[in-house]
């Protein structure tokens, strides 16, 4: 499944979710629909979820809130969560390390 707009794309397949571009939606709730496939994957994938944000140049604070909710959801569901990030995108290392405090099972890998 792939959601594609002029600003961002979210591709969900059996192995992983790949988010690219600039995600700057109006509010945390505005992320519910685009992140629906990720939420479903948390419910269905007991063996863990891989989310690749290494080409996600921007995520606004509403998006950070929503991503954090997913990280919390995974913790509640006891599902492993791996984030693949990029060192070249300054916000990622900072934000993602804070998210690690929400879920001890969050694995953060850098490309």
């Amino acid at each position: 499944m792939k959601i594609e707009t002029e600003d961002y794309s979210i591709e969900t397949n059996d192995q992983q979710v790949i988010i690219k571009g600039a995600l700057r939606l109006q509010s945390p709730t505005a992320y519910d629909k685009p992140f629906e496939s990720i939420r479903e994957a948390i419910t269905n994938k007991q063996d863990g979820l891989h989310v690749d944000i290494s080409d996600l140049n921007f995520l606004n604070s509403s998006g950070v809130t929503s991503l954090a909710r997913l990280v919390l959801d995974a913790r509640k569901a006891d599902v492993g969560f791996t984030l693949l990030c990029s060192e070249d995108i300054p916000w990622q290392s900072k934000t993602v390390s804070s998210l690690g405090k929400l879920n001890p099972k969050l694995t953060i890998n850098f490309k």
Binding site: D7, S61, T65, A68, S98
Partner: protein, 191 residues
């Protein structure tokens, strides 16, 4: 300005660097309605202003990304919390060489001004990483539409110094909110 001392001023509002003449300065004035009508203009404007500034830096790509992130949060806030969609708001960027100062000005109503004041006090007093986690947890539980996370992120991720000033406009029963974000250029380049 006799009652200036009585105005609520928080954080780095009166920064030493401000007394110097900026090396580069750009003002962007806008009406929130343009951004309400087409939300993606927030990002587009942040990108443009960031690219404009980034020419003064060594690592243009990285600084553009940081500046755009910072500006986007300020613009989004000004758009969401302005009392009147047709009342001009502004973003100014001053480059002093070692520091960059951004100022965002918009008008808001009493309720929002009070909320903002309470928030800015908390931001000044609380450890930022802890505040970030608190906000995430409360947003996750209460489904706040405005997550209040923007300024926290700027302080936490980019080591920004934050200041704020709230000026009442008694005639119109409105409040002008000034937010100042001071960034250290060496820090930005080394992120």
């Amino acid at each position: 300005m006799s009652n200036r001392s009585r105005l609520p001023v928080y954080g780095v509002y009166l920064d030493k660097a401000d007394r110097k003449k900026p090396l580069s300065h750009i003002d962007f004035k806008f009406n929130p309605i343009d951004f309400i009508a087409h939300w993606q203009r927030c990002g587009a404007t942040a990108n443009y202003l960031a690219e404009f500034q980034a020419y003064n830096f060594d690592n243009r790509k990285k600084v553009t990304n940081i500046m755009s992130t910072v500006l986007n949060e300020l613009i989004e806030n000004a758009v969401k919390f302005s009392a009147d969609a047709h009342q001009e708001a502004s973003i100014s960027i001053y480059n002093y060489g070692e520091t960059l100062t951004l100022q965002c000005v918009n008008t808001t109503q009493l309720k929002q001004a009070n909320k903002f004041e309470a928030f800015i006090k908390t931001l000044m007093e609380t450890e930022v990483e802890e505040l970030f986690l608190q906000q995430i947890m409360s947003a996750a539980e209460d489904d706040h539409t405005a997550s209040g996370l923007g300024l926290i992120t700027l302080k936490k991720d980019f080591n920004a110094k934050i200041g704020a000033k709230i000026v009442p406009d008694t005639e119109r029963r409105l409040y002008t909110i000034y937010i100042k974000v001071v960034l250290d250029v060496n820090t930005l380049e080394s992120l």
